[in-house]
Each structure stands twice: as structure tokens, then as C-alpha cells.
């Protein structure tokens, strides 16, 4: 495969697509598949055959189109008409009315000028809903692997790192470390063997950003990883993907096979000296394996338990070798940055948080689904314009970001810009992109209890604060929720939270108390309302015995 071959392939595919008068894009991501989009596909094909349109209209399964709450979704190209809640009857109507009599099916048509679509900006998800995830040719037709071609044939590794650094891209896994700096560190470490690892162990409750990218545009991740491999000097990549994502695994396997067949992965990529392979490693269902040192041990085939850092994986990672570890969404941003330049990317978002962020909108909100917004957009815009606000008759109370490591942002902070620094200033984190909206019917003690229950189950048990502390914090929350706790329990709860936060070994324990601390900060009255006066006095802040016992 040469650069010319790649262009030829792209042109062939574009010509093939132009032959069709219409293309019916049905959503083939996990959300829509689970509510029947495969039946919709079959009906579309059947109806097309009946109308003798099978040769001129193509039915294409694509990645997530965003409005998951209204699925299954079908888009008719080239018009761009989007249909929601498509069942077999509607599918037949789309063929018989939209395609044959040219009258759109009014009942199911979505107004695409709605803020849900207008306020979004798609970089990571640009191909989701636009291409067939299972065909490499379709990815190539939309400039796929062009960035890899350019990097390998025209750029020095140091230039690639510099380009990523200048873009201002920060790790999308949650911590927000500068991606360019990380690449630079791994590049500079002297070693014959280095690894590039993609963290696809997305485990936050309510989060499905990475899954959607993997299902809708797997080649984008492969391309991003290959570029990273070239930049840091690695020849082997691993994608650590959780077993709970069978569709993503299936599509990744297929994508790797296709890329290898075309020589886009393997030896002498684009006739250069650069060799790069990617293998999958399937997680076994532990949340803690999203922590980088635990993930590395899990890939090595050992028990997924974190170890103290330093040494960081960039110096001593997989099998003791320098390892570059980034999140799915981070790799998904690489190809566009190379294609369109770091200046273009750096101009999006805010000066310190550049680019866009994908969020999984869930909870008490009208438009649930997958959105991508420029950094720095206000939370209000996300919740009320894009999300359409809370359901009829209820009031917005808080938005939870960052999952079990994050916090709740109350209505008073609705105008906070969504970027790394601003979200931490209000006690939450950007996190990987889960956003759960809560309305006046939500009880904040229950919210804190839910996340603590999650953390206590997912603690690996290595360090004492996380293993035992989370159990006691959960127990205290349970007692408070049941109205059995006393006013002495609240200081104890806070002390335990601070202790677990400051003394735990890894990020899981260090951030596990965040949902409690943040709800205590903004909704302390909800806790206090449930407390009783104690029978005996126990001084807080010391471990001395009660004065009367």
C-alpha cells in the first residue's frame, strides 16, 4: 500500500457510493441494536426489493447518531432527513413514502435544526452515523488513514509529538494530562521495545462514549494508535477493551484484520521502515483495571491491582518497558489534528482545554444520548438547549459528572464552563464523559450511596483505606438514609472521606469519596434532615472513648 493506492481506494469508494440515488443509514450501535434496528434493516431491505430499488438504494449500518433515547434511528442520504423511533412499519413507510412518493414521514421526522444538533460540534464522532463501521473502504473514503500516510511519509517522530503538543490536546480519560507531553516523555526514553496501549475499559455507570466510538468508527482508533506508535517509537499496540462490549470487540477485530490486509498495520507501512501491530486484550470485568498500572498488570496476565507510582508507565510500563497509555477518545482526536493541523484544533474550546468533549447524557433529561460539544460550553447549554431540560413538571437539581470519581454540580453553578479547571473548581471533574442529570425527585444521599456502593464493590482490596474505608462510608450512608444516624456520624463520615481520599493507593480510592464530599458541599441539608440527636456525646476528631459509656 502506497499513498497513491490509498487515494485510489478512496476514489473508488466515493464513486461506488455516488452510484446510489439514496443511502439509508440505520444506527447499528449497541443502543439502537438493542431496540430493534436489525429488524428495521431487514424490513428496509425487504421493502426496497419489493419496490425494485435494491440496486439503486443502499442500506448501511452506521455508528451512533447521538439521540439514543429516541432510537432506532434511520437517516436518509443525500437529503439528511433523520427519523426517530423507527419500527418495521415506519421502515416500510420510509421506503414507500420518502423514497417512492418523495413525501417525508412527518410523524417520525426529527427537526435537525434543533439545538440538540445545532449546538454540537463533531470531531471525535464525525464519522459516527456517516460511514459503515465494518467497511474500511468507507473510512478511507472520508480521508481515513490519510493522517497516518502523511505522518509516516512526510514527518519526523519529533514533529508528530510537537504537533500533538501544540494542539493542546489533554487526556480524555479524566485526569487531563497533556497528551503531547506524555508522548514526548515516552519518545525520549531510550529503549528498543516500547508499547502503545489504548484504555478502552470504560466503566463509569452511565458512560458509553468510548463504546460508541469503537462501535461506530474503530479504524479511527487504530489510526490514532499507529500514529502514536510512529511518534514514540513503538511497534506493538494493545487495546484493552472490556468484555462487556461484545459489539465493539467484534468490530475492532474486523477492523484490525481489514487494516492488516491492506497493509495499513503490519510491516513496512506505506513502504517505510515503520512496523506496527495491534492486538486486543479483553478485560474481565474489574473497574479498577481502568487505572493504568492495574490495566498494565492485567494485560500481562496477572491480577489487576494497581501499584504505587512512580515509576510511571511512560518509563516502566508493560513488561517493564516504556509504555504510552491513552484513552479511546484521546486517540480518536489524533487523526483530525494531523489532518487539519494543531492550530485548527487549538482554536476550538478554551485556551487551556482545547478541542471538544464527548458526553453521554443520561438521567432525568429529555434528550438522552451521545453528544460532542466544544470545551468551554456552559453546563446550562448542555442541559437545557442540547438536553432539552428535565422532564415536564420537575426542576433541575444537579448534574453529576465524572461518575464514581466525580461530583454533583448544583443549579447555582449551571453557568460553569465545561473545561478541566472550571469543573474541578466546583468540586467535580471532567472525567471520561458521563453526565447524569438529576431533578427535584432525586435524593442526594441516595446518589452518594449508589456511587459508594459501586466503589466498595470495585475496590481491588490492596490498600486498607479503600478496602475497608469504602465499606464504612457506605455503611454510614446507609444508616443516614434509613434515618438511624446521629449528628455525630456526619463528622465521622467527613473524616473517613478525607482519609480515604488522601491515603488510598490509586485513583479509584483517592476519588471514591468525591460523590459524598460534593453532595455534602452543596446539599448538606439533605443529610442533616435525616440525622437524630445522639444518646451519648462522642467528641469528633479524636479516637478517645465517649465520656459516658
Amino acid at each position: 500500500m502506497t499513498v497513491e493506492d490509498l487515494q485510489e481506494l478512496a476514489e473508488q469508494e466515493q464513486q461506488r457510493q455516488e452510484k446510489f440515488t439514496n443511502r439509508l443509514m440505520y444506527c447499528a450501535a449497541a443502543g439502537c441494536v438493542s431496540c430493534g434496528s436489525i429488524n428495521v434493516r431487514d424490513m428496509l431491505k425487504k421493502a426496497l426489493a419489493e419496490k425494485n430499488l435494491a440496486a439503486t438504494v443502499e442500506v448501511v449500518g452506521t455508528g451512533c447518531m447521538g439521540l439514543c433515547g429516541e432510537g432506532p434511528l434511520v437517516k436518509v442520504l443525500p437529503e439528511g432527513t433523520l427519523y426517530q423511533r423507527v419500527d418495521e412499519t415506519v421502515a416500510r413507510k420510509i421506503v414507500e413514502e420518502h423514497l417512492v412518493t418523495k413525501t417525508p414521514v412527518k410523524d417520525n421526522e426529527i427537526d435537525t435544526s434543533h439545538p440538540f444538533f445545532a449546538e454540537q460540534m463533531k470531531i471525535v464522532l464525525e464519522n459516527c452515523g456517516r460511514i459503515d463501521a465494518e467497511k474500511i473502504e468507507e473510512y478511507i473514503a472520508v480521508e481515513g488513514y490519510a493522517a497516518l500516510a502523511r505522518v509516516v511519509t512526510e514527518m519526523q517522530p519529533a514533529e508528530v509529538v510537537e504537533e500533538v503538543r501544540k494542539s493542546g490536546l489533554r487526556g480524555r480519560g479524566g485526569a487531563g494530562y497533556s497528551t503531547g507531553l506524555k508522548w514526548g516523555i515516552v519518545r525520549k526514553v531510550q529503549s528498543d521495545t516500547k508499547y502503545v496501549v489504548c484504555n478502552a475499559d470504560e466503566g463509569d455507570p452511565g458512560a458509553f462514549m468510548d463504546r460508541s466510538v469503537l462501535e461506530g468508527d474503530p479504524h479511527r482508533i487504530l489510526e490514532g494508535m499507529a500514529i502514536a506508535g510512529y511518534a514514540v517509537g513503538a511497534q506493538q499496540g494493545y487495546i484493552y477493551v472490556r468484555a462487556e462490549y461484545p459489539l465493539a470487540i467484534e468490530r475492532l477485530r474486523l477492523a484490525i484484520k481489514q487494516a492488516e490486509r491492506l497493509g495499513l498495520l503490519g510491516n513496512r507501512i506505506f513502504d517505510s521502515q515503520f512496523n506496527f501491530r495491534i492486538d486486543l486484550r479483553i478485560g474481565a470485568g474489574a473497574f479498577v483495571c481502568g487505572e493504568e498500572t492495574a490495566l498494565i498488570r492485567s494485560i500481562e496476565g496477572r491480577r489487576g491491582r494497581p501499584r504505587p507510582r512512580p515509576p510511571y508507565p511512560s518509563e516502566k510500563g508493560l513488561w517493564g518497558m516504556p509504555t504510552l497509555l491513552n484513552n479511546v477518545e484521546t486517540y480518536a482526536n489524533i487523526a483530525p489534528i494531523i489532518r487539519k493541523g494543531s492550530t485548527w484544533f487549538a482554536a476550538i474550546g478554551t485556551p487551556k482545554s482545547t478541542g471538544t468533549k464527548v458526553f453521554a447524557l443520561a438521567g432525568k433529561i429529555r434528550n438522552t444520548g451521545l453528544i460532542e460539544v466544544p470545551m468551554g460550553i456552559s453546563l446550562r447549554k448542555i442541559v437545557f438547549d442540547i438536553g432539552g431540560g428535565t422532564p415536564e413538571g420537575t426542576e433541575f437539581k444537579a448534574a453529576q459528572t465524572g461518575g464514581p470519581s466525580g461530583g454533583c454540580i448544583p443549579a447555582a453553578h449551571l453557568d460553569v464552563p465545561v473545561d478541566y479547571e472550571s469543573l474541578s473548581s466546583v468540586g467535580s471533574i471532567m472525567g471520561s464523559g458521563g453526565m447524569i442529570v438529576m431533578d427535584s425527585t432525586s435524593n442526594m444521599v441516595d446518589v452518594a450511596k449508589y456511587f459508594m456502593d459501586f466503589c466498595k464493590d470495585e475496590s481491588c482490596g490492596k490498600c486498607i483505606p479503600c478496602r475497608v474505608g469504602t465499606v464504612h462510608i457506605h455503611g454510614l450512608l446507609e444508616r443516614i438514609a434509613q434515618g438511624k444516624a446521629t449528628t455525630n456520624d456526619l463528622p465521622l463520615l467527613e473524616e473517613l472521606c478525607m482519609m480515604v481520599k488522601e491515603t488510598s493507593l490509586c485513583g479509584l480510592g483517592q476519588s471514591a469519596p468525591n460523590p459524598v464530599l460534593s453532595t455534602l458541599r452543596f446539599f448538606r441539608n439533605e443529610y442533616e434532615e435525616l440525622l437524630q440527636e445522639p444518646a451519648t456525646f462522642v467528641p469528633s476528631g479524636t479516637d478517645t472513648p465517649p465520656t459516658t459509656h
Binding site: A286, V288, R302, R303, R305, R307, P308, P310, K456, D457, E458, S459, C460, G461, K462, C463, I464, P465, R467, V468, G469, T470, V471, H472, G475, L492, E495, L496, M499, E502, T503, S504, L505, V538, D543, T544, P545, P546
Partner: protein, 244 residues
């Protein structure tokens, strides 16, 4: 290897940069409580008792796995650290069934000593009263998992020093337990050489010798010193240090 100077608790020291802060502190008679650490075994940084405050860092760092850096200013015994250490011991006490009065290692127990040293007089969190499996199937030893603090010293000594790797951890979170081989009774664990090293390094009464009565068993960890010294001199086969 280089020599660095650093300050620990106001004292200016010089040290080699491949030593841990714990080693350096102990060489200078600065006491830092530890539990999972044992001289001669690899460090895992799991018990969090040896946490230190380092000026300029917003995170507490474990002394056993942190290396010194030039100009580092370290505090080992601040009020915050004392409080957190006491709470960690309290959490350990709440996690198991540590009835000292009916324990074979009463008065020779590292957990008990830690409770004294950290000034733990009262446990404010409720006791969890676990009901894990006590295994007396081995001809010479007993494992009482309700007295286990999951320091993994037994796992490491068996793997790194004896080379048998009988012990490992099963389960996660609060359900973690030490298991022999693939979770079989200790007596039928084929890899066990009955050397007893795990029993000697266990800080509590979780691993004990049969036939001793309450408060009679003393643990001796000195033997490790000789093995490790011999290994350094090349008189002993060496296995790559690899925790758990």
C-alpha cells in the same frame, strides 16, 4: 547511583538515591510505622501506614516505595499523619475478628503494637465481624483468615524467598482472602513445602503453628536477613522480585 541530600523531620541527611525513604529514615533512627513492609521482601505500598508528607507535593507518599530526591523536605510525624495512621489501624481492627485475649500471638503481635504506637484507644466505626474460612488442614500450621490483615507478606515470602508461590489473593475489596494454590485446603496444597516462612513473617495471629497456646507464639522474622544477604552474595538462587 548518586548521593542526595534531603531533610527528614528537620534533620539534614545525605543518602543514596536508590534507597527508599523508609530505609534512610530508619538508618537515622527516625521511626515510621509499617505493616506490609518487611526487610528482605519487595515493597507493595499497600498498608499506607508509612505515608509521609513531602513539601511541594499535594499527595502523601509511602516511605517504602518513594526514592529520595535532592533537596526533598519530608515530614514523617505530623498531626495529620498521626491521625490517618490511627484511623488505618482502626479500620484494620474493625475489618477482622481481632480478639487479642484468645490469640496465640497476644503480646507478640504487630497489629497490637501498631494500636499502642498510634494511640488507638477506641474504634469509632462498627466492627464488621467477618466469617471467613479458618483452615487447619495443614499438619503443622493453621490459617485463621478472620485475623488476616492482607499485608501479603506470606504471598511475597513464599514467592520471592521460598520460590513455591503457594499463597495468593482471591476475591476483591472487602472479600479479599489469602488462598493456597487454586483455593484448596492448605493441607492439600501440593506446592507447599511446609517451610513455615509464611507463618514466621505473618504480623498477626492469622498464620500460626499448631500446638501453641494463647499468647505463647512469638514470631521471628530475623531469618530473612540471612537468606537475603546470602542471595546478594550470590550464594542463593535469585528469583526476580515480583509481588503477588
Amino acid at each position: 547511583m548518586a548521593i542526595v541530600t534531603l531533610t527528614i523531620d528537620g534533620e539534614q541527611l545525605s543518602a543514596q538515591d536508590n534507597e527508599s525513604l523508609l530505609e534512610i529514615a530508619r538508618q537515622h533512627k527516625i521511626e515510621i510505622p509499617t505493616l506490609c513492609h518487611l526487610d528482605g521482601l519487595s515493597d507493595v505500598g499497600a498498608c499506607r501506614l508509612c505515608l509521609l508528607e513531602i513539601e511541594g507535593s499535594n499527595k502523601l507518599a509511602p516511605a517504602c516505595t518513594t526514592r529520595p530526591m535532592e533537596g526533598m523536605v519530608v515530614h514523617t510525624n505530623t498531626e495529620k499523619l498521626k491521625k490517618y495512621r490511627r484511623m488505618i489501624v482502626a479500620l484494620l481492627a474493625s475489618e477482622g475478628n481481632h480478639q487479642c485475649s484468645v490469640c496465640m500471638v497476644n503480646n507478640h503481635c504487630e497489629l497490637q503494637n501498631l494500636a499502642y504506637d498510634t494511640g488507638l484507644l477506641y474504634v469509632r466505626v462498627p466492627y464488621l465481624y467477618p466469617n471467613k474460612v479458618t483452615d487447619a488442614s495443614h499438619e503443622s500450621f493453621i490459617i485463621d483468615r478472620d485475623r488476616c490483615v492482607l499485608c501479603t507478606r506470606c504471598v511475597r515470602v513464599c514467592h520471592e524467598v521460598e520460590g513455591a508461590h503457594v499463597w495468593d489473593i482471591a476475591g476483591r475489596g472487602i472479600d479479599c482472602t489469602i488462598v493456597a494454590d487454586l483455593n484448596v485446603p492448605w493441607g492439600s496444597a501440593e506446592s507447599c513445602t511446609s517451610c513455615g516462612k509464611c507463618v514466621l513473617v505473618c504480623p498477626t495471629g492469622a498464620l500460626v503453628k499448631k500446638g501453641e497456646s494463647v499468647a505463647e507464639m512469638e514470631k521471628h522474622t530475623d531469618f530473612l536477613k540471612y537468606i537475603v544477604t546470602a542471595r546478594r552474595k550470590g550464594e542463593w538462587i535469585s528469583i526476580e522480585n515480583e509481588e503477588e
